[in-house]
Chain length 318, copies 2
């Protein structure tokens, strides 16, 4: 690859994909994109991101509908889809992955890398976490409201030259990047916060972090879920520092009142990545023999909420 | 009291109070009522209940606003309020309780009798559970849609002459009554069903019993909560038969798709009796040293849902 102008393909140019794709373009990379709903707009006018980093017009070098249309494999293939059971990521990128392509999973959740790594055993898998508040506001239009830091490392562990080069590109245009030798543990650590606050904010009726921390039974539940996630992480090979729970609670108490990203997804009628964020953790608990009753309760309720819509039915006496 | 025409005072002539008050009147009892919102209507036109037992016009002998207005203490004082933390039942009935008055608690939940029993140590406390689907549809108008069986016994245990007489009155007009030597255990047994299905139906997004039983993680949660309630009941002195969980699940699978009463309350914007139905069970678990993580999770989430309303706030990256 040309070291200063690597070729990047963004798979799934939604809010996150368009923001980071646009920033990589700003940094000088040659950036193409694959998108479905915004395909025509991406070709004709480009994708607009109103960003705290300065507004972007992301005009991909090439716009594709399908990976099979990609003629030259990119240096970095950035997977920016949501992690949903109905999306087979390994299949979707087939045809666009070359022998030298690093596959960057810019996605939420824990234990989301294995299926892709298994399908592309000869390729470098880069695992990336975005701490960002960025949403779709209309066709081909997105809004980056706050934050934007990336945590990046090689899966299952390590930091490679291509990870550093990616970091350098982002830092050239002011995107904060933290490199992780152990990105798997970084995902578990993020889950310590997400596993309680995301579901409770939705299941509690659309409540903020402040509402949650004002309710003694809810605080009890937050702490119980955090302890369970730490236990699962440790059993799965990612022991986290003992201070993580206290630190996160203290940080959350200091924040102003916020809605979680899962609550924003729920309110906007978007999928909530229940499986990637909670389901994978519940399955890791079962695999490693860790009891996680509070986490499983949240998972069961969110699964219902994500799948069923209220209908007209009879009434039950009880 | 005149054995065939006992004096009954209904405290809280809402849906349940008006239905059973009206049926007792139909049975020949002298029935008065205390009500607040429907006071004028109850005096002028009476309270209407469209019932599967035949439509009722409940015209109380006397209508009161306050217990202090009651000049002659009744033989039965039926407390038909919801059990909510903001309602001090012992205070509300003060002034209407005579030395011979039996206090009938026709209310949901577990461990709801003790505060009233403590305030009136010389009076008989009758504990009654209604398995009924009955709702308010407008000012002074109610609808009795289904069921209606009563479970009745003396608190803390036993069956008295006045309990039998009450049963006889109800049976005279076709209201099914089951007498319980151990009404406290009957309340715990009802909770085995209510504790999982009521909260899950609400927290799962307004789902029916059929929806719940179609989701493996939700079935897991239902069974886990049922086991916890049985453990708490046993520790609190009410061991339930081992078959209760299997039987209830089988019965629920056979039922047509139903909405729980708590879901109907939630959808109608009514209070959900979270404290009486779940809070008292959680406190009993803490008192008796029983771990009840799934029940506590549901309690924490319902507490949030019951107290907070969504507001306009910031957004959180996570």
């Amino acid at each position: 690859m040309k070291v200063n102008r690597p070729a990047v393909l963004i798979m799934g140019a939604g809010a996150v994909g368009s923001l980071y794709g646009g920033m990589l373009q700003r940094a000088g990379a040659r950036v193409s994109a694959l998108c479905r709903s915004d395909y025509e707009l991406a070709r004709s006018k480009g994708l607009k991101v109103k960003s705290i980093w300065g507004d972007l017009l992301f005009r991909p070098d090439q716009v594709y509908r399908l990976a099979a249309e990609v003629s030259t494999a990119p240096d970095y293939l950035v997977v920016a889809y949501k992690v949903l059971p109905e999306i087979d990521r390994a299949e979707l990128i087939r045809g666009a992955v070359g022998t030298q392509t690093s596959i960057v999973l810019l996605q939420n959740g824990v234990e989301i890398e294995a299926p892709v790594a298994a399908a592309y055993p000869a390729n470098e898998i880069i695992s990336a976490l975005a701490f960002v508040c960025c949403n779709r506001v209309g066709p081909g239009e997105f809004r980056h409201l706050d934050y934007g830091r990336l945590s990046i490392g090689v899966y299952p562990r390590g930091i490679s030259e291509k990870v550093r080069l990616l970091r350098d590109l982002f830092e050239r245009v002011g995107v904060p990047v933290i490199l992780h030798e152990d990105i798997v543990s970084a995902r578990w650590e993020k889950l310590v916060w997400n596993a309680p606050f995301n579901p409770i904010s939705v299941l509690g009726g659309g409540v903020t972090t402040t509402d949650i921390l004002a309710s003694p039974p809810a605080i009890f539940l937050v702490e119980a879920v955090m302890r369970e996630v730490c236990a699962i992480a440790a059993a799965a090979g990612s022991p986290l520092p003992e201070t993580v729970i206290g630190d996160m609670l203290e940080d959350t108490r200091k924040m102003k009142s916020y809605k979680t990203s899962m609550l924003l997804d729920w309110e906007a009628g978007r999928s909530m990545e229940v499986e990637a964020i909670l389901g994978n953790a519940v399955r890791a608990a079962a695999r490693t023999g860790v009891a996680a009753p509070h986490l499983r309760s949240l998972f069961a309720l969110l699964s219902l909420l994500d799948r069923y819509k209220p209908g007209k039915v009879g009434t039950k006496v009880d």
